[in-house]
């Protein structure tokens, strides 16, 4: 049943597949982000309470939900690497971590810039903000562990264990607005059934969310192929590739 997956455990096949995917992801990211963000900045109506400051939403919410989604993807990669010893899973976990850290930082910074005019403060130590900050530290820890060992297998194991322990933080972030009293508003988009948002506000969000997701794909692909090359530098196919492309 899993036979079709087998060739992708080969680094050479994965490297070439990544190269093939890259232009598609890049094109789709550019199209969706342009449409989504122009729509969000120019055409979406202003919020009746928050005015135009609400436009920060179109960066803040995709960044925040992707920061959790990316962590989940990294945890799946770490799990497969620890259980089935897939070397490529290690490479992808190492490729994913910096992207997640970047989106977590964006969620925190845009959140602060939104909090200042709306709540009157850049930062408050409440459940949602603190747990998201811990997510940033988890990402930084994982990145540090990946770089702390000369032996990449050992590094992958250490970083993988930290990743799996840190998964506990994801539901805490997600449900923090329901479990504790917090300044942060509850979710408007992902309410099951119907989102509590008017459609002319929701559509630009959907476009920018898809655009950001493809951008995540682009950056992960770029980093993943770097990881593959670095980890397979003595293989003949890499040597052949290097001979043609070195300058």
């Amino acid at each position: 049943m899993w036979k079709w997956l087998h060739p992708y455990a080969n680094p050479e096949v994965s490297y070439h597949l990544t190269n093939k995917l890259l232009p598609w992801f890049s094109g789709l990211a550019a199209v969706f982000l342009t449409i989504g963000l122009v729509w969000a900045l120019l055409f979406a109506p202003a919020d009746y309470q928050q005015g135009d400051s609400f436009r920060i939403f179109y960066v803040h919410v995709p960044a925040a939900s992707l920061s959790m989604g990316i962590y989940f993807a990294m945890a799946i990669a770490a799990f497969s690497s620890l259980v089935w010893q897939l070397k490529l899973a290690d490479a992808s976990a190492a490729a994913i971590a910096p992207v997640g850290a970047a989106f977590t930082a964006i969620a925190l910074i845009t959140g602060a810039a939104w909090g200042k005019p709306m709540w009157g403060t850049w930062w408050i130590w409440d459940a949602r903000l603190t747990s998201e900050l811990i997510l940033l530290f988890l990402y930084l820890g994982v990145i540090a562990l990946h770089n702390a060992f000369e032996d990449k297998n050992l590094a992958g194991k250490a970083a993988g264990i930290l990743t799996l322990v840190g998964v506990i933080n994801i539901p805490i972030i997600k449900y923090s607005v329901d479990w504790w009293n917090t300044l942060h508003q509850g979710s408007t988009v992902s309410k099951l059934g119907k989102p509590s948002m008017s459609l002319d506000m929701l559509w630009p969000f959907i476009f920018s969310f898809i655009g950001f997701s493809f951008l995540v794909g682009v950056i992960i692909c770029l980093r993943f192929r770097n990881e593959i090359l670095a980890r397979n530098s003595i293989r003949p196919w890499v040597r052949e590739l290097v001979k043609n492309k070195a300058c």
């Binding site: 005015g51 845009t110 590739l241 290097v242």
Partner: protein, 87 residues
């Protein structure tokens, strides 16, 4: 279109600083990450090429030394033979 003029658009109903701070910082972080990830590819390729060059040089030097030693060995043997004969 929600805005009447370009300055209205920049002003964002008084929230311009916060809105453009958010969008600006996000664009900055993402483009830095994108560029560094893209550049990494050529850097790694050059690194591997350099390492290969060093290995090739090392291998060459090894072969040369071996050749040299063999020659020395032969000379020594010839010398010894000569010594035996002259004694």
């Amino acid at each position: 279109m929600q805005f009447n003029s370009f300055s209205d658009f920049i002003n964002m109903g008084g929230y311009g600083f916060y809105v453009w701070l958010s969008f600006g910082v996000s664009a900055l972080i993402l483009s830095l990450l994108l560029i560094s990830s893209k550049r990494g590819h050529q850097q790694i390729i050059n690194q591997i090429a350099k390492r290969k060059q060093r290995e090739d040089k090392l291998r060459e030097a090894k072969a040369l030394r071996k050749k040299h030693n063999e020659k020395n060995e032969e000379a020594k043997k010839a010398n010894a033979a000569l010594n035996e004969v002259t004694e």
